[in-house]
Amino acid sequence: MARSYAELEIGEELPPVSRLMTQETINRYADVSGDHNPIHVDPEFAKNTMFGGTIAHGIISLSFVFQALTDWLGRADLDGSKLRITFINPVRPGDTVTAKGTVAAKSEVAGRKLATCELWIENQRQERCIVVEAEVAF
């Protein structure tokens, strides 16, 4: 059941989505996307970079933010919505990443109902890896 604009409460928290990042997931994403950058898939190459080992494509972790948002909204699309995404810290194989979020504001502009949500991906040390400001249209 899709949530309505009227139901939303400022400060409300979105149900989190957690996943363990594995090298297998990274390799499979590389195959799906065609992005085989060695920093993601070649441990020998990655060992000698500033990261000291492979890192996950930021897109994989980001997708859990989309999942948290659409699960919470109870709808499958983001028609009319805007997202501003900043990648801050890398996610490594073995990290557990969690997508979290909260409703920051509600507004009605020119007949459009919008909810501003702050979302982020954090790792098991509560370090934020990705932050997303979403303007969700209703």
């Binding site: 997708s63 699309d77 997202l83 990648f87």
Partner: protein, 145 residues
């Protein structure tokens, strides 16, 4: 043949880089879902999609890189290695359905130096086969060279 690198200094601003077409195949979306693990019925089942009020199975909004990043990487050749995806803005239009034929137009809107890092802003507009805008993107990359 070695691809010549497109260095920061060589990038004309603004500049148009053409367009790329991508068909949203059922197998591609299934592969994406297998990796990501979001098995919302509307993304896999036509009946569930119809019951939810959509005309067909939807592509998950999180699958946007399949439509944008691939187009950018192919449209702008010679990207130097060592680049980083720093920021991304997305504006969603009508939902993307499995079977849609999407066309993404790529342009470089800006470039600038900040704290000795080279930033390049790449804008994309993606439309479906009916000419409807499905996605507008603004990707800021730290350029490798």
């Amino acid at each position: 043949m070695t691809q010549e690198l497109l260095t920061f200094d060589q990038i004309p601003v603004p500049s148009e880089w053409g367009s790329r077409t991508f068909t949203v195949g059922e197998e591609t979306i299934k592969s994406w879902i297998d990796v990501i693990g979001d098995r919302t019925p509307v993304y896999v089942d036509a009946t569930a999609a119809k019951e939810a009020g959509y005309e067909g199975v939807l592509a998950p909004p999180g699958a946007w890189p399949l439509f944008i990043l691939d187009a950018i990487l192919k449209a702008i050749p010679g990207r130097p290695p060592g680049g980083v995806h720093a920021r991304q803005e997305l504006e969603f239009g009508v939902p993307i359905r499995v079977g849609d034929v999407l066309t993404t137009t790529v342009r470089i809107a800006d470039k600038y130096l900040k704290r000795e890092r080279r930033y390049v802003v790449q804008e994309t507009t993606t439309t479906n086969q009916r000419g409807e805008v499905v996605l507008i993107g603004r990707m800021t990359s730290i350029w490798g060279k």
